[in-house]
């Protein structure tokens, strides 16, 4: 087991090193000069040169790569070209929006998906099942920016229940913050609810086909009760794995929703940083995201390995479908 863990850890390090190289290379080849972007079309040559030197852009690429990696190992993610403050400070500010947003969306998913799945599985084959099935299909089929716009028109402009966008910070109290995040979280959650509910419904129906479930039913448990007591527990494990993967997707994949709701989240930060050629910011944030995903999946694998010796020899945990 120890050898297994060590080997996995070695691979983890290798993966991270490789990703850092890929990220750096990917960003290195993007055309566009950060200094020119910042100083615009009226800038004189010597001002540009001075700014490039100030940003450290005059150094050769390998040197910049080593400086970046070395800094990160020591917890220093560099200075944003655009904002001229430490990258980590900016990221922390944005996480104060992105994490609660992803968390709220995840909470919606974890509440709504099982409820929908249970109703569908309980009334399997009935009209309710078909209606739920159709709704989840549509939930998957609507492009997410479109869904976001519809939600704004309905709940912010039409009913006036929520602000139409923006985020004034947590210092006004968590009520105002949650209210600002509710619609964007819903926009993020709906497709994920649809995906998870479909998977869970199938798992539940599969579980209801097993012997232990029949035994429980034979003992006189009602269909819903049997479903909740016995099938749900067995259907939950793969669902939790998928939910875990969805969380990391929610964290990084919210660019479009953040844009439509004008939220200062992590996704929009990177999106803007690419446009502004704040390259150090892009590199560091992408690296952080990759790090988070790789480490989470490492831990998941390790947990599987602990729980089930067969896993150590190759069968891997299921993965979630990943949207754009």
């Amino acid at each position: 087991m120890l050898i297994y863990a060590l080997r996995k850890a070695g691979l983890l390090l290798l993966s991270l090193t490789l990703s850092s190289l890929v990220i750096f290379a990917l960003i290195e080849v993007i055309p566009g000069d950060p200094a020119q972007f910042m100083l615009g079309i009226g800038a004189e040559e010597d001002s540009l040169a001075a700014l490039r030197q100030e940003l450290g852009l005059d150094q050769p690429a390998p040197q910049r790569y080593l400086a970046w990696i070395g800094g990160m190992l020591l917890g220093d993610f560099g200075l944003s070209y655009t904002y001229r403050i430490p990258v980590l400070d900016v990221v922390m500010e944005r996480l104060a929006v992105s994490l609660p947003l992803a968390g709220l969306a995840m909470a919606m998913v974890l509440v709504a998906a099982p409820v929908i799945a249970i109703i569908a599985a309980w009334r399997h084959g009935s009209t309710a099942d078909h209606v739920v099935g159709g709704m989840t299909q549509i939930g998957i089929a609507v492009p997410n920016f479109w869904l976001a716009i519809l939600l704004i028109h309905l709940f912010a402009l039409g009913l006036g229940w929520f602000p139409a966008g923006g985020f004034s910070g947590w210092h006004n109290g968590s009520g105002a913050g949650l209210r600002a995040l509710f619609l964007p979280a819903l926009a993020l959650a709906i497709p994920q609810i649809a995906i998870l509910a479909r998977i869970m419904r199938e798992e539940l129906i599969r579980a209801a086909d097993q012997d232990y479930f029949r035994t429980a039913r034979a003992k006189g448990l009602g269909p819903l009760e049997a479903l909740l007591r016995h099938a749900l527990r067995n259907a939950l494990l793969p669902v939790l794995t998928i939910a875990g993967m969805q969380f990391s997707f929610l964290l990084a994949g919210a660019i479009i929703v953040e844009n439509v709701f004008a939220l200062p989240g992590l996704g929009r930060l990177v999106f803007q940083a690419i446009a502004q050629r704040d390259l150090i910011m892009v590199e560091s944030v992408v690296m952080l995201l990759v790090f988070a995903v790789v480490v989470v999946s490492f831990l998941v694998e390790l947990a599987y390995g602990l729980a089930d010796p067969r896993v150590r020899t190759g069968v891997r945990p299921p993965r979630v479908r990943k949207g754009p």
Binding site: P34, G40, G42
Partner: protein, 495 residues
Amino acid sequence: MITRILSPLCLVLTAVLLVSPLMAADRNSMTIGLQLEPPHLDPTSAAAGAIDQVLYANVFEGLTRFARDGSIIPGLAKSWVISPDGAVYTFTLNENVRFHDGSVMDASDVKFSLDRARAEGSTNAQKALFAGITSVEATDSQTVRITLDEANGQFLFNMAWGDAVIVAEESIGAIRTKPVGTGPFIMERWQKGDRIILSRNPDYWGEPARLDQVTFRFIADPNAAYAAIMAGDIDAFPGYPAPETLPGFESDPRFRVIAGSTEGETILAINNQAGPLADQRVRAAIAHAIDRSALIDGAMFGYGVPIGTHFAPHHPDYLDLTQLSAYAPDKAKNLLAEAGYANGFETTLKLPPPSYARRGGEIIQAQLAQVGITARIETLEWAQWLEQVFRGKDYGLTIVSHTEPYDIGIYARPDYYFQYDSPAFRDLIKTLSATNDPARRRDLVQSAQRMIAEDNVNAFLFQLPQINVINAGVMGMWENAPTQATDMTAVYWQD
């Protein structure tokens, strides 16, 4: 398990809905929407107009300043004397001016600011504004003498730019996050990615601001901007980015839509050295192939004044030359045939992000196709545009709005991205900049306007409008944008 998760969430939801702080309209504060967030808050080391849109005239002031009609009026300098040869400017400063940190603003601060901007290795984005300065002397605490290497009729205008504001030496270290100026508003708080809050400067040296607090919110997405105004989250949006949605505001008594002017000449820039485009007849054909009114209707939903040269129509010296390049597709075809391109030719049309360029590009592509020119659209980010088009000159056509005021002088630079190389035009601009007499300047600048129009350097499209969507109760906002600024000093709520 389900109920255990469900019940707290229900509680949270109810709480969220109930707590909703429907703040009563506060008559002493206002929320302004802007499209772009400043990267940092030092107007003297970045080209970002977004910095000036928040800080110019609100937090920072210069020796002179732009008034709302675009004229140059005294700022921190209450008066000045120009030497007979036009090369020495002596400014007398206002008294009792203090920076927001309490320190006194005097001649040494002016000297520091100007010397810093023009120094070797300075990262000022408009260093050319200071190019002619040979020395800045503080003759006493209220007097500054600036010597130029030659007469410069533009100098007072140059000193009004946001890049030439007066900063305090002791605050320079933190200026990017904590700007310390002399203006009627003090920087209060910056919620990055979302808003900047300014509060009134109680010790302002001039006419104080009427509002206690101004919040600038940054909303890049046009849809989000529309929704924020409609929902009442925002009281005024100068430079509103989605003209297509204006009918919704125009028909709603809660709002006023005001279309003002900007200094942005929107042009179809032509690479004057690229293959067929080097031929003046081909460029003339392009100009005649474009139907400006269809373009303005289609790309700007009717907002925008057609222009026939690179000069702002609201400027008193403007010459209306649109007839020189009137829409005449048949004439365009003849010109192409004359130049040897009877079957047309292919070129690139590289488009930066703004919607005037993207939408305008689609229309111009269709209009050029009518006369046989195939323009292949490539959409670019700004960084790519700067590298490929502006620096690399690797393009055939591009659409861009030149927002610097009075910038016809760029046509005198043969290495500029149009690559227009005309010795006659260069002589004209040289004479212009050495001339102080207004009548003579007018003649010269009108000849310059005519020359670039007749040479068809670029196809001149329209003056970019400044579209302001304003709550009906908001008074005193600037209608035009003579510079990128949102001067909030005189803005108030009507009772």
